[in-house]
């Protein structure tokens, strides 16, 4: 029997062992994150079929829930931990060659800590532990944004830190208010007791939770830090921040809304917020000249779309939102990884500097194009089935409200097409015909890029590979009574 607790302790232990290994052999540091995340990926994949049948509840310290700290490895938790381990593994292989300057051991320690925090957030069944793992994630991402130590990185790290820690304080006040009312921190126990509380006394904690978690999830208007932080971090970190960190924030928002509060009244408000986030992100992305800022704003837009899909609140909608989350993670990580070496080669982040790059780095640019097509939602890539599911879910509600909003989503997609195709045009069709030297990204970068492309195309052609898992994850979010019963027995 593989215990889900290994998913947290192995990377946590190895993260702090990195400086020790580096004492003996300098080069050891960079091989530890791939090893730890590969282990996590294997454990998640072993656990996945088992949790589809029945969630695994791990009680720590020998007490029974609700008195102990527990881990809930349900379909949602293991799905997310598998995604985190997969993307983390591929990005850490990319970082083998990409991260050369600076304090390399510290980079790898913080990188592994960030992913440990993310795994902890999705597995924990206790709101205070959720806060602690969230802080592990946040503090290591503040430090990683500042990793290169140049002007823009430090400035955006300071902004990110101030906004992020105000958000965490709000989250902690919300936790205190819930503890004061119910005398417990266990998510399932609170969810059971919350039906007897008056709605007025729940409103303030819920607002505090959404605000606090919304900063990390980059929900409009709490996302001012994101474009700066994502564009000035090293590209491998941008891929993780865009592909993992904000998704984990969104997971926490969803868990709080659906499981703890069981709030269906607030969903239409969240749907409107999602659409606002989407439109603001896409419109700002359209006007950017810096390729990484453009990708960062596009992440804001995608987060809005995922939030909208989750807020539809039907099983189709939630499954579509989770599918969109998966396809955004894969595509955006691929885009940032490909952009990393394109920027390295061009020597600038300006889109105009990438002219004719399609002939200088054909494979990397092809990968960038595939990522862009997938994000826009063209078949046969994974963005197509996920956006299709969301549109179908919105139309299936047969409410005028969601039908109008899905029209705005399609408008946002048109803007998305416009700015991605502008970049692709610059890559392939601009610039004078010169006999430029072909020089690809190094092999350590091409392997993860190739795997991302393969995953995007495979899932795009056979969406059935993931739909079973996504459907049972959606039903875990929607059936809070089953969640309570499986934890409390």
């Amino acid at each position: 029997m593989v215990n889900p607790v290994l998913l947290i302790i192995v990377p946590l232990g190895l993260a702090f062992a990195i400086p020790l290994f580096a004492l003996f052999w300098k080069g050891a540091a960079k091989y530890i994150p791939p090893a730890a995340l590969g282990f996590n990926l294997i454990v998640s994949l072993i656990l996945l079929p088992r949790v589809l049948a029945e969630p695994i509840i791990v009680s720590l310290g020998g007490w029974q829930p609700p008195f102990c700290i527990n881990l809930v490895a349900g379909p949602v938790g293991i799905l997310f931990s598998a995604i985190i381990a997969l993307v983390g593994l591929l990005v850490s292989i990319y970082a083998l060659d990409y991260i050369r300057e600076g304090a390399v051991e510290r980079y790898h320690t913080l990188y592994l800590l960030l992913l440990t925090g993310a795994t902890g957030v999705v597995l924990t069944g206790d709101i205070f532990n959720l806060f602690v793992f969230f802080e592990i994630l946040c503090i290591s991402s503040y430090a990683l944004v500042a990793y290169l130590g140049e002007r823009s990185g430090i400035e955006s790290a300071v902004k990110y830190l101030i906004q992020g820690s105000v958000g965490s304080s709000f989250l902690l006040i919300g936790i205190g208010l819930l503890y004061g009312q119910f005398g417990t921190l266990n998510i399932a126990d609170i969810a059971e007791k919350i039906t007897s509380a008056s709605p007025i006394s729940l409103f303030v904690p819920m607002v505090l939770f959404i605000t606090g978690l919304g900063v990390e999830a980059a929900i409009f208007p709490l996302n001012a830090w994101l474009p700066d932080a994502h564009s000035s971090a090293p590209s491998s970190i941008s891929a993780i921040l865009s592909g993992i960190a904000i998704e984990v924030g969104l997971y926490a928002v969803t868990r709080v809304i659906f499981t703890i509060f069981g709030a269906s009244g607030i969903l239409s408000f969240l749907a409107v917020l999602g659409i606002l986030t989407l439109l603001v992100g896409e419109i700002c992305a359209f006007s950017q000249n810096n390729i990484k800022r453009m990708l960062a704003y596009s992440s804001i837009g995608q987060i809005g779309l995922i939030l909208f899909a989750l807020a539809i609140g039907t099983s189709y909608g939630v499954a579509g939102g989770l599918f969109q989350l998966l396809s955004h993670t894969l595509s955006k990580a691929l885009l940032f990884l490909a952009a990393g070496y394109m920027i390295y080669r061009a020597g600038s982040m300006e889109i105009s500097a990438m002219e004719g790059m399609g002939k200088k780095m054909p494979i990397t640019c092809l990968a960038f194009t595939i990522g862009a097509f997938s994000l826009v939602g063209l078949p046969p890539f994974t963005g197509f089935p996920s956006k299709f599911l969301i549109v179908r879910a919105a139309l299936a509600t047969q409410e005028a409200f969601f039908c109008v909003l899905i029209g705005l989503v399609l408008l946002g997609t048109v803007i998305e097409v416009a700015y991605f195709f502008r970049v692709i045009q610059v890559l392939y069709f601009k610039g004078e015909k010169m006999n430029s030297v072909k020089k690809e990204a190094p092999i350590a970068a091409l392997i993860p890029i190739f795997f991302f492309v393969a995953l995007i195309i495979t899932v795009g052609i056979y969406p059935r590979l993931v739909t079973d898992v996504l459907n049972s994850a959606a039903s875990e979010f929607l059936n809070r009574l089953d969640y309570i019963r499986s934890v409390l027995g």
């Binding site: 430090i154 304080s169 205190g176 503890y179 474009p227």
Partner: protein, 120 residues
């Protein structure tokens, strides 16, 4: 008014500190002052958490000592939470201060109104 203050004095103090901290973060231009504001905000939140579990004239919950009446025991869980929250707060403040040293080296100022290279 006075009776309200008497019975909710800790909550009043905690939320007073939280509001002062938020005010400093929102209004002040100097990064060091903003970090001080973050510290005050953290302290307010911690005070709030402790007062959630506190009862008047409460004492430590040690069950092996028979002279402590269980009616007077305070709830130990919020205190454990605060201990963790303090550690996290220290880490955030330390990181913020070290970042502000680097920021000063690059820009020669800590005035956040002047450090605005990144725009929408």
């Amino acid at each position: 008014m006075m009776s309200f203050l008497n019975s909710y004095i800790y909550y009043t103090g905690a939320f007073g500190l939280i509001l002062i901290g938020l005010y400093i973060i929102l209004v002040k231009h100097n990064l060091i002052k903003v970090i001080v504001g973050l510290g005050i905000l953290d302290t307010g939140v911690n005070l709030f958490l402790v007062s959630v579990g506190y009862i008047t004239k409460g004492t430590a919950p040690i069950f092996s000592r028979s002279e402590i009446n269980s009616e007077h025991m305070v709830d130990p869980v919020p205190q454990a939470l605060v201990l963790t929250a303090i550690v996290i707060g220290v880490a955030v403040l330390a990181l913020a201060l070290s970042l502000s040293i680097r920021l000063y080296k690059h820009y020669g100022t800590l005035n956040l109104r002047k450090i605005r290279e990144q725009r929408w």
